[in-house]
Every structure is written in structure tokens, then in C-alpha cells.
């Protein structure tokens, strides 16, 4: 931060949606922070989107409601938006723009960091391969999350993604190391009750101490949502790469972020892309998702779990579609399982963690992890086929082995998938359940696991 102040301009040419167009501007810079002052002395923040021909287009984070052309001033601050960071941010609750929301003073900053972050040097990136235990069996056992990975959760309107997000935030830990672990939680456009749930949930579980919360609620201006993931990731990068912590960033709900982006794009009269989202949605999302990883020579890591609700449960919608191109797998929540009352309703057949193979096995989780997981995946897939068949020919028309697979499917959903929201299972417990499920099948059906593991863990039932 410099002592230089900015020039205040009072010629407002136009106010359009969340944008203010300022006339006769010289020396403004792209992304520069702008303070908009109303006639009544109220101050709002914004940033420069475009400059040229003596005009500057300013995007006002808190919206332009109540602003008028006369009496409004725009002060160009001379710097980009920065987030004050220090270890003291842990245990704090901020709003979507990074201002304290817990009644406590601003954190005493160790540094002020540009919220747009610095791109990670691809050559410096370290391949993620260390296991993160979430305590949720289906994730740890079959869609394993590793440090430095970006693994989104694709959900649908009204489903239990927020419960999953809060449970991951409360329970997540790194096993087999004494390194510090932190959670940065960014709620983007969530309802007040949900924001309160996240805060209380972390507070009551004692996890708030190692967490930083950014809460942008549904009644906050939509444009603020553009900033929320960026301030959250700025803090995460500081904790990870300056303080050497392993940081898990949970961003929920990225659909609200994309909608805010669409709002700005429409106000700027840009040519719309699919479903009205801007053509640069992919590029923009990548500026968020790519801020995850590990760097050579640095101790910490940033792991991202962005959560997005798919409009009409449509996985081909531009938001999940483009997210899927950037991230390393996905956890998909299934409507059918949700309707059956299964929590967490993870549809494992549509879910995948691309980095799982590198984060599990001997030295990370257990040597048999990959094989038992594959076998259960295979068995559950077969169970689904058998269920479909039973729907046509009836249970009486099924063979004995088909019935066994059907049983495996039921047990998988009841004992493995289903879990209480406060149940924190260790990886050993999770693998134990997977073996109990597999043990329901005759030994000759187990084709994906080495004999030595079968001899060790299989208990015929």
C-alpha cells in the first residue's frame, strides 16, 4: 500500500446495471480500485473494467442502487484491490469483500496482497499426491481427495451440498503429518440461514479456530460475488505458501458466481455465449480453479472443493461443463439417492477423482485401497444393472448371484454411503466397510483384488 491517494472524478456519464461510466478520466488503470461516493457520503467499492477515450467503466461491487449521475463521485485509488493477510485471519468471519463480519476489528495485516493472485509457474508446480481425509467414507474411499487437487461437487437445487460442504470443512485433516491444516470457506450468494449454519457448525465443532469464513449472502449485491472467491483464494495462498499450511478451500455456490458474471456481461452488452453466459466463462473460471496446487520448494498446498448447483440437474449446463474441463474429477450428488434420504447422496458411478490413484495405497492410506475401491465400484455398477432388470422381470426372475449383487447395492447405500452429518470415519473404518460389502459376494466374484489382500481381509458371510 502506498501513501499515494487517487484523483476523484465527478463527471459520471452513465449508470447502467452494476456499471458506472466515468467521463474525462486520465491515468486510470485496468482493474484499479475505485471508491464511489454518493451525494450522501456513502462509500462503495468498485473496479475498473475498461479504460479508453477518456472514459472508464467501473463495476460497482455493492451495486448501483440509489446512485445518481449528479452528486456521485468516483475516486480512482491508484492500486488494485488488496486483501490484508496475516495468521490472525484464522478464526475470523468476513463478508464477501473481505471486511470483518464478526464484530471484531480489521486484522492487523502482515501483508497486503492483490486479490487476483499471481499465476503459478507451471514448471514450479508439484504433482499432488498426498491424501486428505474428509471423514466422509464415499469421498475418502472411492473419490479420494489429494492435497493440491481441485475436485468440484456437482449438486442440484435443494440437495444436501451445503451439509456436505460443512462436514468436509469440520472434519478434513491431513494424516501422517504434523503440518498445520486450515480451511478457507467461501459462501457465495447463500441464504442467511445457510451462512449462519456454516458459521455455527464450524464454531460448535471447534473447527473455526483453523478456518477463515467469507460469507456473501443472497441479499448481498450480486456483483460482490465476483470478488468473494478471489479474496478467499488470496488468503488461502498466503496461508499455504507463506505460512506453510495445507489449506482446503471450499467455494459454494459457484453457480451464483457465474450468474454474477453473466449479469456484468449483459450490462456491458457483450455478445452472449451459451445460456447467456459470457464467452470467456471458461477463462474466467480457470482464473479461480487454477489457483490450487503445490509448489516446488514450498511446504504448503491449496486444495479446492468448489461446489456448484447444476440448473435443472443438467450436467451439460455450461457451468458444470466448463468446470469439468478445468478440474481434476468431480463428485456428483444424485437426485434419486437424495430422494431416498441417503446422505451424502453421492452418485459414485458419475463421480471420479483423477488424482486418486496417486494419493492412495501403501504409505498413504492402505495397500489394498485402490483394488477394493475398484471392486466395490464394479459391484455397485452391476447392482444397478440388476435393479433395472428386476424392474422388468421381477425379483423372482433373478439368479442367485444377481440377488447377491442386489444385496451388495443395498448394503453399499445403507452402510457405506449413508453417514451421519457428524460422523467422522477414519480411512481404516472406511476400508473396513468396503471389505464387509465385498465379503457379501462369493470369493470367485472378486476379480480385481490380489489374492493376498483377499486372504487378509475377506470374511465370507
Amino acid at each position: 500500500m502506498s501513501s499515494e491517494g487517487g484523483v476523484q472524478y465527478s463527471k459520471i456519464a452513465e449508470i447502467k446495471g452494476p456499471l458506472v461510466i466515468v467521463d474525462d478520466v486520465s491515468n486510470a488503470a485496468f482493474d484499479e480500485l475505485v471508491e464511489i461516493e454518493t451525494g450522501e457520503g456513502e462509500r462503495r467499492l468498485g473496479k475498473v473494467l475498461e479504460v479508453g477515450n477518456g472514459k472508464a467503466i467501473v463495476q460497482v461491487f455493492e451495486g448501483t442502487t440509489g446512485l445518481s449521475i449528479s452528486g456521485t463521485n468516483a475516486k480512482f485509488v491508484g492500486k488494485v484491490m488488496e486483501m490484508p493477510v496475516s495468521r490472525e485471519v484464522l478464526g475470523r468471519v468476513f463478508d464477501g469483500l473481505g471486511r470483518p463480519k464478526d464484530g471484531l476489528p480489521d486484522p492487523i495485516a502482515d501483508k497486503f496482497i492483490d486479490i487476483n493472485g499471481e499465476p503459478m509457474n507451471p514448471e514450479q508446480r508439484q504433482y499432488p499426491k498426498d491424501f486428505i481425509q474428509t471423514g466422509i467414507s464415499v469421498i475418502d474411499g472411492m473419490i479420494t481427495l489429494v492435497r493440491g487437487q481441485k475436485l468440484p461437487i456437482f449438486s442440484g437445487s435443494g440437495m444436501s451440498h451445503n451439509l456436505v460442504a460443512a462436514q468436509i470443512a469440520r472434519q478434513a485433516s491431513v494424516v501422517g503429518t504434523q503440518d498445520d491444516f486450515a480451511v478457507v470457506f467461501a459462501a457465495i450468494g447463500v441464504q442467511y440461514s445457510e451462512a449462519e449454519y456454516f458459521r455455527r457448525s464450524l464454531e460448535e465443532s471447534g473447527a473455526l479456530k483453523r478456518s477463515v469464513l467469507f460469507l456473501n449472502t443472497a441479499d448481498d449485491p450480486a456483483i460482490e460475488r465476483i470478488i468473494t472467491p478471489r479474496v478467499a483464494l488470496t488468503v488461502a495462498e498466503y496461508l499455504a505458501f507463506e505460512l506453510g499450511m495445507h489449506v482446503l478451500v471450499i467455494l459454494t455456490d459457484m453457480t451464483n458466481y457465474a450468474e454474477a458474471l453473466r449479469e456484468i456481461s449483459a450490462a456491458r452488452e457483450e455478445v452472449p455465449g451459451r445460456k447467456g453466459y459470457p464467452g470467456y466463462l471458461y477463462t474466467d473460471l480457470s482464473t479461480i480453479y487454477e489457483r490450487a496446487g503445490k509448489l516446488n520448494g514450498r511446504k504448503g498446498s491449496v486444495t479446492q472443493v468448489p461446489i456448484l448447483s447444476m440448473p435443472s440437474d443438467d450436467i451439460t449446463h455450461p457451468i458444470p461443463d466448463l468446470t469439468g474441463y478445468i478440474t481434476e474429477g468431480q463428485v456428483v450428488l444424485g437426485r434419486d439417492l437424495f430422494r431416498q434420504g441417503v446422505y451424502p447422496p453421492v452418485n459414485i458411478l458419475m463421480s471420479l477423482s483423477r488424482l486418486m490413484k496417486d494419493g492412495i495405497g501403501e504409505g498413504s492410506t492402505r495397500a489394498d485401497h485402490g483394488e477394493v475401491s475398484n471392486q466395490v465400484y464394479d459391484a455397485y455398477s452391476r447392482a444397478q444393472e440388476v435393479r433395472a432388470l428386476a424392474g422388468i422381470v421381477g425379483k423372482a426372475g433373478l439368479t442367485e448371484i444377481d440377488l447377491k449383487y442386489m444385496d451388495v447395492g443395498d448394503v453399499f447405500e445403507k452402510e457405506f454411503l449413508s453417514q451421519a452429518t457428524d460422523e467422522n470415519r477414519t480411512i481404516e473404518e472406511t476400508l473396513g466397510i468396503l471389505w464387509r460389502i465385498i465379503s457379501k459376494l462369493p470369493k470367485n466374484e472378486i476379480t480385481k483384488i490380489k489374492d493376498k489382500y483377499v486372504d487378509q481381509y475377506y470374511k465370507e458371510q
Binding site: 500500500m1 501513501s3 476523484q8 478464526g91 471484531l104 480489521d106 492487523i108 473455526l208 479456530k209
Partner: protein, 199 residues
Amino acid sequence: MASNSSLEQAIDKILEKTEKKILLDLENANSAAKQTLEDALPKIEQEYDQIISNGKKEADKIEKQITGSSDLEARNKQLTLVEESIDKVFTKALDEIANADRSGDYTNLIKSFMDESTKTLGTTEVLVFTNNKDKDIVQSLISQYPGAEVSSETIECLGGVKVKSKDGAMTFDNTIDAKIERLKPLIRKDIATQFGVVN
């Protein structure tokens, strides 16, 4: 009599047979009970271990909750206290600045503020606003800036100048108050460091 004795014999036989059967049943029941007990033992032990492990998990969870919230509470109290102290230091410093001697280097300071302001706005065709205390100093410097005028209006500030282009389109606030406001986060850190709160 003979028929009585054979009847008794028959009854004895039945009794003996029944007794044997009952004894055998008892023995079987006893061994079945023993077996059930033996079978139940590992199950009980397993359940016992499960209860102990669940209890331990619950205890760990409660311990984390208690230590987590008390640590945070203590830290938050410390933050509030530090902030109160910082505010006190600020108030005292602002008082001292407001009552500072306006002679000597102060004129040079105001000149540097004026230079900076006109350079930032890119023109000397400006209207300069200041407070009552600094008005004379500004007035003495104004001739060095062609086209500049001192406003008859005064502004509330600790010192320094606020410069506005004559067409009213641009304003540059270069008062001491504005500078302090801009530097406040850094000054707060310095004060907190003095208190030994941050490194």
C-alpha cells in the same frame, strides 16, 4: 397285588426314562448356554471396544470444541484490547498533529502537498481548499502555481490541502487526514508491533 406291582414298575420305568431325558435336556441346555456365552464373549468384547472407541471419539470432539472456542475467545479479547490501545494511540497522535507548530518545515510540507496535488491533476488551474490554520501558508505559496486560487471556504481537517480543478471535474484530497486514512493499516501494524502483538 401283582397288577399293582407291574403298574409301579411301569411308572418307575417311565419316571426313570423321563428323569434321564430331563437330565439330558438340562445338560444340553447347559452346554448350549455355555456355548452361547462363549460365542457372545467376542461380540461383547467387540461392542465394548466400539463403545469405548465411540466414547473416545466423542470426548475428543468435545475437547476440540472446548479448547477451540476458548482459544478463539481469548484471541478475540486480545484483538479487541489491542484495537482499543491502537485507537488511544491514534487519538493522541492526531491531537498532537492538530496542535503542531506551523512554523519551520511545515511550510515545505504544505508546498510538497501542493506540488503533488497539481502534478496528479495535471494542471495548476485549481482551487485550493484548506483549514483556518493553514490558510496563510497556502496563501503565501499560491503565487508559485499559475492560475491557482485559494478558496474562501475552509474545510475541516488536521492540515494539508484539498485541490479541485477549476471545472470541478477532478479533486485530489491531499489533507493529512486523507494521508493518515490511507496509511492507517500500516500505522496500525506498527503500533501493534510496539505492543509486541505482531512480529
